[in-house]
Symmetry: C2
Subunit: 202 residues, 2 copies
């Protein structure tokens, strides 16, 4: 499908380097959060020069997004391993969102990063789209395949818009938790209240 560029020593090293950087960054973020993940520190610990770090990730936000993207992979795997089993679309969607929420809240610092990167990023963040897609598959009952595009959803269809809306709401609720304004139970209730009418027609 994609054109395979001939691969040399060079690119191999680059891939390794990139991976090392992201892992280092993730480790730092896991502790002190985004602010502990300082560009200088990441560079040092990853054993690359500051300039190199900036060649790979032109801004801190890009790095954050990279870290968060890996988390998202994990969630996707988890979902496909143990799919939600509720009857209604709304039920399944809320189930998945709450699982994600609980997972994230185990690492609040990272959650914070996720949310902020979703929101702030000038960065081409397909993150939002990926979440919506995931949710869409869950809601419609399509099994969550890894990368295989089982049925590229029509992104302008009302259904897709509705799911996207639910995703927005979720992000906000996450934010509220992070700010200490809500607990997980409240969020679950609120998601249920919103998801029910939104996904009633599924």
């Amino acid at each position: 499908m994609a054109v395979q560029a001939p691969i040399g020593m060079r690119m191999r090293n680059q891939n390794q380097r990139r991976k090392r950087i992201v892992q280092t960054a993730a480790a730092l973020a896991l502790r002190g959060g985004v602010e502990a993940m300082q560009m200088r520190t990441v560079a040092e610990r990853a054993g690359v020069a500051l300039g190199t770090l900036y060649r790979y990730f032109p801004s801190k936000m890009d790095l954050v997004v990279a870290v968060v993207t890996e988390e998202l992979d994990l969630l996707e795997t988890s979902i496909s391993r143990r799919p939600p089993n509720a009857e209604t679309a709304a039920g399944r969607a809320v189930d998945v969102l709450m699982r994600a929420t609980r997972g994230l809240m185990r690492e609040p610092e990272l959650a914070d990063a996720l949310v902020r990167s979703l929101i702030m990023a000038e960065v081409k963040t397909e993150l939002g789209a990926r979440i919506t897609d995931l949710l869409y598959r869950v809601a419609t009952g399509t099994p969550v395949a890894g990368n295989e595009e089982s049925a590229p959803p029509d992104r302008d269809a009302d259904d897709y818009v509705l799911v996207g809306s639910l995703a927005s709401i979720w992000i906000f609720e996450l934010l509220e938790i992070l700010k200490g304004h809500r607990d997980m139970e409240q969020v679950q209730q609120r998601l249920e209240v919103a998801a029910e009418p939104l996904l009633a027609g599924f």
Copy 2:
């Protein structure tokens, strides 16, 4: 209602100073946006010391929120002057949101500030609550009074949650416009799609 502290020269000056700061900041933000609104510059032009600025607004975000809050006042006045006239709750809500959107987009820099402050602020930002309240009154058909609390809405009622959800969605759509991913028409459509089921029971 509130305890009136005796007012001296001191506090009067402080109020003036605060107002001067906010106005200066707003003026700067109106041009170059949040980044043009540098703390040093604000301090200089407002004729206060940097330290003083920081006494009044402990972080730049606090200052941004103050500026944005004034904008919100304007919107509220505009709404009460010319209330939405649609038949359905969803119609009225979308009407108001789109008016706000158009207003904000006239000053994209400020819009950006609004959104970011809503999102980022550790700051005690009743901004979100205020928007939701406004929307709630509009949706239920309660005339939008200025500051008078005509009927303090029950913030845990499902209705209130639903309206809050719509507010979240709106913020996100704003964000998408700012990122250049959508135009106003698309946003309107999407808001309609989401608002209709959400506010169906009003």
